[in-house]
């Protein structure tokens, strides 16, 4: 369980959870998640702040959710992935992949088998592993079907295996 006990207790015990509490508890994690999804740490902060700003504007509804931080994580991931796709369209295929990936993100990708995946596949795996969420819930969070998320997870494992074989054969 990754969410802090403070927010978990607030959300489980009472309906009153403040934006500030959720922000303080989950901001860094959401920024890290977005950076890990796209590999573009320069835009991770922007996407996370935009997602929190949207949550702030709708806090009457978002604050009543079971896990407001997951709502923000989903929105931030979608914003970052949309930006990544837009850049790829504008700069040509693979253009967005030429963004320099910092070392600590690269290490995280290798460690969590995310290196050769698309941002959407990374988001599926990270949300699945991060919160231990079942596939059905990850699919709901990402707005995708369960079959799509299962495919993302499967492709992620296959690509990782292929990457390991390539490295071993060198």
């Amino acid at each position: 369980m990754s969410i802090s006990a403070a927010v978990a207790g607030m959300t489980a015990g009472t309906a009153e959870v403040t934006f500030e509490a959720v922000f303080a508890d989950s901001y860094h994690r959401v920024v890290g998640l977005v950076a890990a999804v796209t590999g573009d740490e320069g835009r991770a902060e922007d996407a996370a702040q935009e997602a929190f700003a949207r949550a702030y504007q709708r806090w009457g509804r978002v604050g009543r959710l079971d896990r407001p931080d997951l709502w923000v994580a989903r929105v931030a991931s979608r914003i970052a992935i949309d930006q990544w796709r837009r850049r790829r369209r504008e700069t040509g295929l693979g253009g967005a992949d030429r963004v320099h990936v910092p070392d600590d993100v690269q290490r995280l990708w290798v460690r969590w088998q995310l290196e050769r995946l698309s941002p959407m596949q990374r988001a599926s795996i990270l949300l699945h592993c991060w919160e231990g969420r079942p596939v059905a819930e990850v699919a709901t969070l990402l707005g995708r079907s369960q079959a799509t998320v299962r495919t993302h997870l499967l492709i992620g494992r296959r690509r990782f295996r292929g990457f390991v074989h390539e490295e071993e054969s060198r």
Partner: protein, 301 residues
């Protein structure tokens, strides 16, 4: 893979990328506030700049009428019994005294006072003025009295007695990033008229200050183009019931302006941010947002 390990790594990565939670929270709240106000339908009247064509047409028509009137006035006496020794027509049209010195009484229609005719007050930078009267009334630009530091914590400037109600304003420097006492900034305080309502012009030098105005006063925010390829966002009011924006725009050269009316008693903030040019393009980038211009308006009766 275990959740807590991944959670710890994401947290560490996020802390490195965005270490300041407090600043990020402020930026998020500002972004949410500006975003919400940005979606509000514009009810402001068209900017004067967009009426440039109409203004030019009117000016041309007035100049043509003046030339025509001069031509009529220069005719030999008796050639036009309808206009003997009359002054320039443009003077009659504007209600000003004619060339002969007689008041023009033909035009008694009430016209709305143009914005440029309102008295303009440019708030001086806080460290300069101390106790001496910083400005004069009714004359050209008068530099405020300059004295050496230490600066007074509160700058108060009140219009000298005049026929109309006395406009006054109080400027209180806050702990914000206002200009430092030295070197002294150039004088920017001037009173050009003592008539109400007062028009107060705020520039980026007034960032972080608190301005006290009266109901009905007009606050104009004029932010000049930044040097570093950044652009100002359109100044927004945090409370439209107190400081109601009547017009405003962020121009492509980077400058921005807005006009607010002091509608009712209370406090309101006027906020603006400097953003890179890509923020204004489509699709727009999403840079970290911060408040680069903030002035608190206190409206009193």
């Amino acid at each position: 893979m275990t959740g807590p390990e991944l959670d710890h790594e994401l947290e560490t990565l996020g802390r490195r990328l965005s270490p300041r939670v407090g600043g990020a929270h402020d930026a998020v709240v500002t972004r949410a506030t500006l975003g919400a106000s940005g979606r509000r339908p514009r009810t402001a009247p068209p900017r004067p700049g967009r009426l440039g064509g109409a203004v030019l047409t009117l000016a041309f028509a007035a100049a043509f009428a003046a030339l025509l009137a001069v031509g009529v006035a220069n005719r030999p006496a008796g050639s036009s019994p309808s206009a003997p020794n009359s002054g320039p027509a443009v003077a009659l049209a504007t209600g000003a005294p004619g060339a002969s010195g007689a008041p023009a009484t033909q035009d008694t229609t009430l016209r709305p006072l143009p914005a440029s005719a309102l008295p303009r007050v440019v708030v001086p930078p806080p460290p300069v003025a101390t106790g001496a009267p910083p400005a004069s009334v009714g004359g050209p630009v008068a530099p405020p009295a300059r004295t050496a530091p230490p600066p007074a914590p509160t700058v108060i400037a009140t219009a000298p007695p005049s026929d109309g109600p006395e406009p006054s304003w109080t400027a209180t420097p806050t702990e914000g990033p206002g200009p430092q006492p030295s070197p002294a900034p150039p004088p920017s305080s001037r009173w050009t008229s003592g008539h109400a309502p007062t028009r107060i012009v705020l520039t980026e030098q007034d960032n972080g200050r608190t301005i006290t105005v009266h109901r009905g006063d007009v606050i104009e925010v004029d932010l000049s183009a930044p040097q570093n390829a950044m652009r100002w966002t359109e100044p927004q009011s945090t409370d439209e019931t107190v400081a109601r924006r009547s017009s405003g725009a962020a121009r492509s050269d980077g400058s921005a302006d807005a006009v607010f009316g002091a509608a009712q008693d209370g406090n309101a903030g006027i906020l603006a941010s400097r953003m890179p040019a890509c923020y204004f393009s489509t699709p727009r980038c999403l840079p970290p947002q911060r408040i680069d211009f903030q002035v608190t308006i206190v409206v009193t009766g």
